[in-house]
């Protein structure tokens, strides 16, 4: 047996995720020794690490083929991974930035927040990079467990604790299904390597088709839970409402990103050839159905919400539906690459937009441990015009109205669905987008057309930076998406070898 050397492990390309996890340990250790008045070093160190890795990650696009695999094929360092890393680091950046003042304000400035967030981010990155089901499982837990803890961070707050417990129990249940699915797929295909599974399925070397299907279905449950797809979505609003707002903001993107990265990685690399009618793969109809249900439920239920975080929770369910539409389209071989890059681009657009929306929510949240309500936006255009303008931009983007990132993202997703012949799905997407306009624009109406209390709140500088950057990102992706589009387009998912 050939023994691997250090070069074979190819550690350099794994640096974004592995480095972030290690950096989290460093931040944790340093944070332990920081006195109260030097707490800002937590922020500085976290942001520094994120930015450095972000820059480094830019060099990881278009690696030569021999450098695209690390840890003996367990870690894939292709463009898909690099793009997922990019989104994840952006998410982490905003997650740190918008939390700093919030944590102080709500007196939960425990140093653990930052390392937890970084570890969770590295889990999300690893989800996208996994070349093996075992890595997928580890990455899923790495992503989830810090999130459970972070949602319960606001002790002693009943809502926060309840949400943490709920999230944990439900999350543990669904990840049990994922592992069960991994075991079944392993039993059917005899391997946990994604490319190997692909080749064995292709060559008909599997023990049992049904077992493979059952395993794929169970994995879909675990990943569907992470992305909050109906009917595995029920935790979402409760947890979003209960968790500290900054955590909710991070979670709304980070967890979804990890879930989708894993979903696309597994289903497109390993299982595209699972039998189905005609050209399309066996899971396409299932995912399309889930996407439809998710879009409908998320948007319809969001209308009745008055609590902003809860509303954004349902909205995040709805957006999971849109991205699932891309995943479903990727089931058709002809549009696979386009659909993957469409989903990735949408995730990036969603990251900027949703993180921005949450940053604004954090900014208007009162200090009395009550959640912001829709009416809290009243008259914001008078008291804080810039904030209101940014929020309006985010809401337009979430609805899918130009000139924002959301519309470009939706454009690609709808086009992917149409190209894959799923016009009905695109139509559902459109109808539900119209429904969503109703509740997103209500916030805009409240900000611009209603009178508020009229008191200008204290400006919060880091939050302001976060809101500003998110707004710029949302706008730039809306009018000049060329650069990121180019990167997303290069992210192609294929099995190795063969």
């Amino acid at each position: 047996m050939e023994l691997p050397t250090l070069q074979d492990l190819n550690l350099a390309v794994t640096l974004p995720s592995m480095g972030l996890a290690l950096w989290a340990c460093v931040v944790l250790a340093v944070g332990l020794f920081l006195p109260e008045r030097r707490r800002h070093w937590n922020l500085v160190l976290s942001l520094g690490g994120i930015v450095a890795l972000f820059l480094y990650n830019l060099t990881l696009f278009d690696l030569p083929a021999d450098r695209q695999s690390a840890f003996l094929g367990m870690y894939r360092a292709d463009n898909f991974t690099a793009f997922v890393n990019l989104i994840a680091l952006v998410t982490a950046f905003f997650g740190v930035l918008m939390a700093y003042e919030y944590l102080k304000r709500t007196h939960i400035d425990r140093g653990e927040y930052y390392p937890l967030l970084l570890i969770s981010t590295s889990g999300a990155m690893l989800m996208g990079a996994s070349g093996d089901l075992a890595v997928l499982f580890v990455a899923l837990e790495l992503l989830s467990i810090p999130l459970y803890i972070m949602s319960g961070l606001r002790r002693p707050n009943a809502a926060s604790e309840e949400s943490a417990l709920k999230y944990f129990l439900l999350g543990a249940f669904s990840s049990a299904f994922l592992v069960y699915g991994v075991a079944l797929v392993y039993g059917a295909a005899g391997s946990t390597d994604l490319s190997e599974i692909f080749h064995r399925v292709n060559a008909g070397l599997i023990l049992d088709q049904g077992l493979l299907l059952a395993g794929a279905g169970l994995m879909l449950v675990g990943l569907g839970f992470k992305v909050a797809a109906v009917p595995f979505h029920m935790w979402t609003p409760d947890v979003y409402q209960g968790a500290p707002t900054a955590v909710t903001g991070y979670m709304s993107v980070g967890a979804k990103l990890g879930g989708f990265a894993g979903l696309l990685r597994v289903f497109i690399v390993a299982l595209p050839a699972v039998s189905g009618a005609g050209d399309a793969t066996g899971w396409q109809d299932t995912i399309a159905l889930i996407a439809a249900l998710t879009m409908i439920l998320g948007n319809v239920v969001a209308i009745a919400q008055r609590d902003v975080k809860r509303m954004l929770g349902y909205s995040s369910i709805a957006h999971a539906g849109y991205i699932l539409m891309g995943a479903a389209a990727a089931g058709s071989p002809d549009v696979r690459d386009f659909a993957v890059s469409a989903s990735l681009f949408y995730l990036l657009a969603y990251a900027f937009t949703n993180l921005g929306a949450f940053a604004v929510t954090v900014a208007i949240e009162k200090d009395d441990a009550t959640n912001p309500q829709l009416d809290d936006f009243n008259g914001l255009s008078k008291t804080r015009p810039v904030l209101a303008l940014a929020m309006a931009l985010f809401m337009l983007s979430l609805t899918g109205i130009p000139p924002t990132a959301g519309v470009v993202g939706k454009f690609f997703l709808f086009q992917a669905a149409v190209n894959a012949g799923m016009v009905w799905l695109a139509l559902i997407g459109v109808i539900t987008s119209v429904v969503s306009a109703f509740y997103y624009l209500r916030i805009v109406v409240n900000m611009y057309l209603r009178e508020g209390p009229g008191e200008a709140q204290a400006q919060r500088s880091f939050l302001g930076v976060a809101v500003g950057l998110a707004a710029v990102g949302t706008f730039v992706l809306g009018v000049a998406p060329v650069l990121f589009l180019d990167l997303a387009q290069r992210a192609v998912l294929v099995a190795l070898g063969g």
């Binding site: 002693p156 009943a158 809502a159 709920k166 129990l169 249940f173 669904s174 049992d208 088709q209 049904g210 077992l211 299907l213 059952a214 279905g217 169970l218 879909l220 449950v221 839970f225 009917p231 595995f232 029920m234 935790w235 409760d238 409402q241 439920l297 319809v300 239920v301 969001a302 209308i303 009745a304 008055r306 609590d307 809860r310 386009f338 899918g400 109205i401 130009p402 519309v407 454009f411 690609f412 709808f414 086009q415 149409v418 190209n419 016009v423 695109a426 459109v430 987008s433 119209v434 429904v435 306009a437 109703f438 624009l441 109406v445 611009y448 057309l449 209603r450 009178e451 060329v482 387009q489």
Partner: protein, 764 residues
């Protein structure tokens, strides 16, 4: 390149005005912008010969090259016609607005929005790529939304703004998918290539789908029945915006796109049937409903709807027969309706009301305004030699072969005459009236907030001359264009529809049926106006109004949402059960495929290892079952430990000694942990919860300790008891990990629980 500048300049102007708003008075801002718009107008006008000669001009710049998307402009006669309309009416409106707005800061904001709209609208009509077109299309909806809500805190304005955006923005999304399908079918997003591909597109299997979606988008934008109701609601916008967006330009975007796509999609059975049916219905509905209005802008809005219906019906005529009439109608309508809107604003500005019942006889003070109204009203009524007459004649001539359409057009034309007369006579002529009591039969849902259009009533009760200049110019243009048809209108219309046409005031062949019907309509309209005292008292019951349908739809969606919300019970077990059920459904699809060939024998117990393994397996299962059955937590935890050890034993037999070792240690740890937890959770609480559980199981239900209070629909609050619980209510303060266990222990003992604990021996 120069056309890209045409699109960009309004945005630049808008931003500059916004930043200069503290330096310039509103009038100066208005003059500046008027100059800019006029320049654009002149530039576009200068392109007319070039376009007529060379055909369409295309301008392409890379935008998203990866997916073949370009930023493309496509300038032909039709685009130029609309571009001229936008910039021409725009100049007039800007001039007017400078006087209309009193506050410089507000004026700056308003101008910025108006200019942003202008730029978007120009992008719509000059777009050479359906994606660019869609984006600009939605931008116009957004700008319209912001302008309708410009005056802010007023329920009507808020509702109107949201409604208009929902309808037009939503329709825009339908258009979006329609355009995507169209692009997919044509294999390109470039407008020029799509237009030259008409034959194939009409044969395409998706033709019905994309045409339906595109029509839906156009109808919603152009306020076609039954989606027309947003337009009257949009009249809460400041009057210059109404004049510009909601009569002259934005609402015509739908008409523009229909005309634009006519070469590619038009003239099929579906197209013609849909357009003429919807158009004629809209025409009639708008004309009839206009009669019920008391608000000047309401009357104008409904007659606009009626006119838009006519335009849509014309584009639905087979073999491009209606395009000429449509082009003339667009220009005529923009001129007279723009003038009338501006006049309505001026009336409001000076008198402080727009309610026609409170107005009358003001023509004596405002002769100029009255004259302008008379001219524009004559054009609206279709009296020669104004342009409105030509528009009506060409319309009647187009539908002369279709009895039903002819009847609808004639009736609508008559009612339009009535509306025009009311606008002139009841406002400017007759006895002066002030603050008449409002008639009782005015329906509530048609109530408009009268008289809060201007911002500051104290200033300028005398009409500023510039404010009269704009409507006066537009009205005069109606006359000039009507008289000088051949030199002015004919080249424009010819360029717009792409073939040489001749326009005439009176048919060269003498009196024909169209002319007769035109006269009939005029007479009929005057007749109806004469007896207005009678029908104004009628209260026409409207069985279902669009607003009701809209509200009903929203309510229906909300109630579906409420049903779904009931599923969100907040209970973990329920959520778990839902997941489990979904998993079972998901697996049910896979199970039929499972074909495991049972090995023979299915059970191998040949070696000692096998026997031992089987024993351990049974032990593990039995212990697990025991952990379920035992009610006491401690015993259950111990049983679970046994199961874990049995599994560890199986790992050992595997042989996987390292795994087994880990399993043993972890199992020990898990058991220890659960004991710690049992010690640290309050035994009392646990026991009470357990008692409640078992008691409930027997009784079937139990009183919930705390109800969640719902304040109004959809508001969710935590139960107050829970929410305000301080950190150390009970015996358990927050403790550092190091201190808590022993502290908890001491505290519990301090409360005298210890004897009970010691009786059980272990913290259970």
């Amino acid at each position: 390149m120069d056309f890209a500048l045409v699109v960009a300049i309004p945005f630049v102007l808008g931003i500059s005005v916004y930043f200069l708003r503290d330096r310039l008075r509103p009038v100066q801002q208005g003059l500046l912008l008027t100059a800019g718009m006029a320049l654009l107008f002149v530039f576009l006008l200068a392109q007319l010969p070039r376009v007529t000669e060379q055909g369409a001009l295309e301008f392409v710049a890379p935008w998203m090259p990866q997916i073949g998307l370009t930023f493309a402009l496509y300038v032909d006669g039709l685009g130029l016609l609309f571009g001229l309309l936008v910039t021409g009416i725009g100049s007039a409106v800007m001039l007017y607005t400078g006087c209309y707005m009193d506050d410089a800061r507000q004026a700056g904001r308003f101008f910025a929005l108006m200019l942003a709209f202008t730029g978007s609208m120009l992008a719509v009509v000059l777009a050479g790529n359906v994606v660019v077109l869609f984006i600009a299309w939605e931008l116009t909806s957004v700008m319209s939304f912001l302008l309708i809500g410009f005056k802010g805190a007023d329920d009507e304005a808020r509702k109107g703004a949201l409604q208009s955006l929902m309808i037009t923005g939503g329709g825009g999304l339908a258009l979006f998918v329609g355009l995507l399908l169209l692009g997919n079918a044509a294999g390109t997003m470039q407008l020029g290539e799509i237009l030259s591909n008409g034959e194939a597109l009409r044969q395409h299997p998706w033709y019905g789908a994309f045409t339906g979606l595109i029509l839906l988008g156009c109808f919603s934008k152009s306020a076609q029945f039954p989606l027309h109701f947003w337009l009257p609601q949009a009249m809460n916008a400041p009057t210059p915006a109404s004049a510009f967006l909601h009569s002259a330009t934005m609402v015509k975007a739908g008409v523009y796109l229909l005309a634009r796509l006519y070469p590619a999609l038009g003239d099929t059975a579906l197209w013609n049937a849909a357009l003429s049916t919807v158009g004629l219905a809209t025409m009639l509905v708008g004309a009839v409903l206009a009669l019920r209005q008391r608000d000047l802008k309401g009357i104008l809005a409904y007659t606009t709807i009626s006119q838009l219906g006519a335009l849509v019906a014309l584009i639905g005529q087979p073999e491009s027969a209606g395009l000429k009439a449509a082009a003339v109608g667009i220009v005529a309508h923009a001129l007279y309706k723009g003038a009338l809107f501006l006049i309505a604003g001026a009336v409001d500005h000076t008198t402080g009301t727009r309610n026609i019942n409170e107005l009358g006889g003001i023509g004596r003070q405002m002769r100029g305004l009255a004259a302008a109204t008379a001219i524009a009203g004559l054009s609206m009524a279709g009296v020669p030699p104004l342009l409105g007459f030509v528009a009506k004649e060409t319309l009647l001539e187009t539908v002369i072969q279709q009895p039903l359409a002819l009847a609808v057009v004639t009736v609508s034309a008559a009612l339009t005459v009535t509306a025009a007369l009311r606008l002139f006579w009841d406002v400017f002529m007759g006895a002066p009236r002030t603050r008449l009591p409002q008639p009782e039969h005015v329906p509530h849902d048609r109530h408009h907030p009268f008289g809060d259009d201007a911002f500051d009533y104290s200033c300028c009760h005398d009409l500023p001359p510039l404010m009269l200049a704009s409507p006066g110019t537009l009205a005069t243009l109606s006359v000039i264009a009507g008289v000088a048809l051949a030199p002015l209108m004919a080249p424009l219309v010819s360029a717009a529809i792409g073939k040489q046409v001749s326009l005439y005031l009176f048919p060269p062949s003498g009196v024909n049926l169209a002319l007769v019907l035109s006269g009939v309509a005029l007479a009929l309209g005057i007749g109806v106006f004469a007896v207005r005292r009678v029908w104004l008292k009628w209260s026409i019951p409207v069985p279902v109004s669009g607003v009701q349908v809209y509200d009903g739809t929203i309510r229906a969606v909300e109630s579906v949402g409420d049903v779904l919300l009931k599923m969100q019970s907040g209970r973990i077990r329920y959520y778990l059960a839902v997941i489990l059920f979904s998993v079972l459904v998901l697996l049910a699809t896979a199970v039929p495929n499972i074909r495991i060939d049972l090995p023979t024998p299915a059970v191998q117990l040949t070696t000692a290892a096998h026997v031992l393994e089987a024993i351990l397996l049974v032990l593990a299962l039995a212990a697990t079952l025991a952990s379920i059955l035992f009610e006491r937590h401690l015993v259950a935890a111990l049983a679970l430990g046994i199961a874990g050890y049995a599994i560890g034993g199986m790992f050992l037999l595997e042989p996987a000694p390292d795994v087994a070792l880990v399993q043993f240690l972890v199992e020990t740890l898990a058991t220890v942990l659960i004991i710690i937890i049992l010690a640290r959770t309050s035994q009392d609480e646990r026991r009470r919860a357990m008692a409640r559980l078992w008691g409930q199981t027997r009784r079937g239900s139990g009183a919930r300790p705390c109800r969640v209070h719902r304040h109004g629909r959809g508001s969710r609050h935590l139960c107050p008891r829970r929410r305000e619980q301080p950190a150390h209510t009970g015996r358990y303060r927050r403790m550092a990990p190091g201190e808590c266990a022993s502290a908890g222990w001491r505290q519990r003992r301090g409360r005298g629980d210890s004897h009970r604990l010691s009786r059980h021996g272990h913290p259970d």
